[in-house]
């Protein structure tokens, strides 16, 4: 059994097989770090397939489930979390008054799969919480998500709060979700909007300077 087979099994959504492989590898004293590396490589492939329109929501959600099952198996033997090369940091959340999270979760998954360290603040996040997160986590990019028309105002308030805190020029802000478009971008004062998760990843890469 090789790491290559594990990568393929995860990338091809063979859930039970992949989890069993990890158990067998652990029984054969394969290093957890090597397994985690294989998981990461599989997530890269899954991310690519999503970008190409081969994979959709079922695959992203199942990939997340497979990954957490594997981490659960590895946990007892993980002495330290392995160093993973990260391109940059992103703070993300659904803005105040809105509790929709599907879109935000996809963007979070895709950013993570593409090598970003993502701090997900959850849903119904007030502007102060974004400000606090930007101050402490020091991201290069902030992603604001929202589905309702009410979110337009919450996005604008959040960006104004970043301005008042003197943090606006330290971050690039992208918005997405629902009927977000250029009108909404201009109104909220965001730097850009993304139509989908792929666009969000492209923006983050561009701003952080990842090729």
């Amino acid at each position: 059994m090789s790491e290559q087979e594990l990568i393929q099994a995860i990338a091809d959504m063979r859930e039970e097989e992949a989890v069993q492989m990890v158990r067998d590898m652990m029984a054969h004293d394969v290093k957890p770090a090597a397994i985690l590396d294989a998981v990461r490589k599989a997530m890269d492939i899954i991310g690519e397939r999503y970008e190409k329109g081969v994979y959709f929501l079922p695959e992203l959600i199942l990939a997340g489930e497979i990954m957490s099952q594997i981490v659960e198996i590895l946990k007892p033997k993980l002495v330290e979390s392995p160093e993973i090369k990260r391109y940059g940091r992103v703070v993300i959340g659904t803005v105040k008054g809105d509790i929709h999270d599907i879109g935000k979760n996809i963007v979070t998954f895709m950013l993570d799969a593409n090598g970003f360290e993502v701090l997900d603040l959850g849903v119904d996040v007030p502007p102060e919480k974004f400000v606090e997160a930007v101050r402490e986590f020091q991201p290069q990019v902030v992603g604001l998500s929202g589905f309702l028309t009410l979110a337009f105002d919450s996005m604008r308030e959040t960006i104004q709060a970043l301005e008042r805190a003197g943090l606006r020029d330290k971050v690039k802000v992208m918005i997405g979700g629902g009927s977000v478009d250029e009108h909404v971008r201009a109104y909220t004062g965001a730097d850009a909007f993304g139509k989908d998760a792929v666009a969000g990843v492209a923006l983050a890469k561009k701003w952080i300077g990842v090729q």
């Binding site: 959709f56 929501l57 199942l62 119904d124 309702l148 028309t149 337009f152 009927s179």
Partner: protein
């Protein structure tokens, strides 16, 4: 309505009923003026003609199908609209009179706040119960149906809803778990044993809550329902006969939740297919019964988890479309006009969903390009939409007018188009909503 009628005859009977409306007592509706009567009948006919696609209506019909906008426009919070039925009704009436659309969809969106409280509704957060007073209610997604419960749902959907699902989403219906197995009530011998649960305190508490909830629902509808009648007398018909759902969304929205259904496609695809097969006849029946009860032909079908980006083409064709198509065809067979709303983007689905009989459905289009929709789905179905929420909220009246003008050019030249908003909206500039209606009336004359 006789059972011997063909589907087309049943549908025609519903439309003719709309064209010769009755008041709640069953007498011919007394219009407030001859002008109101003319306006009402012209509007019904305009919609009917646009939907049937056989000839051109006098002009492109226009409507507004909002979420909480009418109440925000009135300066109310969503909370007030949900708890003060009189104010809710008055605000909606004013909204229709001020904006003057051809057809109205009723003041039902806020719903009775107190009713949800009585039943301890857990499926949604609403103002005062998880979201702020000025926020629309929002769904609390979860796994309300467990993965191992598919067989129970498949074997007996109604029994599953009563004994398992409803007590989970309504805290006050906890006593339903203890109800007897009704098909077991057969003969006199020991029949009383089946009725013991009704003597137990938890079941009695549930029934107490139901009486209260029923009374509250009645109080609400006795204020909200007459709005439709009054608006009809003023020339504004209602066409909404009820709603139903795509079987995939029944599972994916409120039973298994998005995460649950998406995992099920890999972990138990056969169960998903079987469950949808079990739900399909119920979803058809729900729509037909509701259209017959209200006398309104349009059955709304909000489409959720099959939009662009949710599923692959293959998954859409295997899991989403077959049973949705069956529901649509079943409704048509029952004399209804299915009214699906393609929420979000539907570009990748147009070639699949266009496979429907011509002139029998109307599709509300949200973010999908209307020229694309017209070339495909629009060859067989009337399209309704798609002025974006962002434009209504943040654009100018000139931009809205230009958008409507373009819509009519790309999708309305040969009929089969209704101008409206594309998505349900809470916030908008009133002058933009007005511009949408006025532009349709100005540019839409055939």
């Amino acid at each position: 309505m006789t059972p011997q009628m063909s589907p087309d005859q049943k549908r025609e009977a519903l439309w003719q009923g709309k064209l010769s409306p009755k008041d709640p007592q069953g007498n011919p509706l007394q219009f407030q003026s001859p002008e109101a009567e003319k306006k009402y009948k012209e509007s019904v006919l305009r919609f009917k003609t646009a939907i049937e696609m056989e000839k051109l209506p006098d002009r492109v019909p226009v409507t507004i199908f909002p979420s909480m906008f009418p109440w925000k426009y009135a300066g109310m919070t969503v909370q007030e609209a949900m708890y003060d039925y009189e104010k809710c009704a008055a605000a909606f009436k004013k909204f229709i009179l001020d904006f003057d659309p051809d057809v109205q969809w009723g003041a039902y969106a806020p719903g009775p706040g107190r009713f949800y409280e009585i039943l301890d509704y857990k499926l949604y957060s609403w103002p005062g119960h998880g979201v702020a007073p000025d926020c629309c209610y929002q769904c609390n997604e979860g796994e309300y149906m467990k993965p191992e419960e598919y067989d129970a749902l498949i074997e007996d959907p109604t029994g599953y809803f009563i004994h398992v699902y409803l007590p989970r989403v309504f805290g006050a219906l906890n006593g339903f778990q203890m109800l007897p197995f009704f098909p077991g009530i057969l003969e006199m011998y020991a029949v009383a044993l089946n009725f013991i649960p009704f003597g137990l305190p938890p079941v009695q508490a549930t029934f107490q809550a139901l009486f209260e909830a029923g009374a509250e629902a009645l109080k609400w509808i006795s204020v909200i329902g007459p709005v439709d009648v009054e608006l009809a007398t003023m020339g504004y018909p209602a066409l909404l006969g009820g709603f139903t759902k795509a079987p995939f969304d029944v599972l994916g929205d409120t039973l298994r939740g998005t995460k649950g259904i998406m995992l099920d496609l890999y972990r138990r695809p056969d169960k998903v297919l079987k469950a949808m097969e079990a739900l399909t006849p119920l979803m058809i029946k729900m729509g037909i019964n509701s259209a017959q009860a209200t006398g309104n032909p349009l059955i709304f079908i909000p489409l959720h988890k099959g939009a662009d980006g949710f599923l692959s083409d293959e998954q859409f064709k295997k899991f989403y479309w077959p049973t949705l198509k069956e529901v649509i065809l079943g409704l048509i067979e029952g004399g209804c006009v299915p009214f699906p709303a393609a929420e979000g983007g539907y570009s990748s689905r147009l070639e699949v969903v266009k496979d429907l009989p011509r002139g029998k459905t109307v599709w509300m289009i949200d973010l999908t390009d209307m020229a694309d929709a017209k070339r495909t789905l629009g060859q067989n179905a009337c399209l309704m939409g798609n002025v974006p929420s962002s434009l209504l909220n943040l654009g100018t009246p000139e931009e809205v007018r230009a958008y409507v003008k373009r819509l009519i050019e790309v999708a309305g030249k040969d009929g089969g188009l209704i101008i409206s908003n594309g998505a349900f909206f809470d916030e908008a500039k009133p002058e933009n909503v007005k511009a949408m209606v006025e532009a349709a009336k100005e540019y839409g004359v055939y």
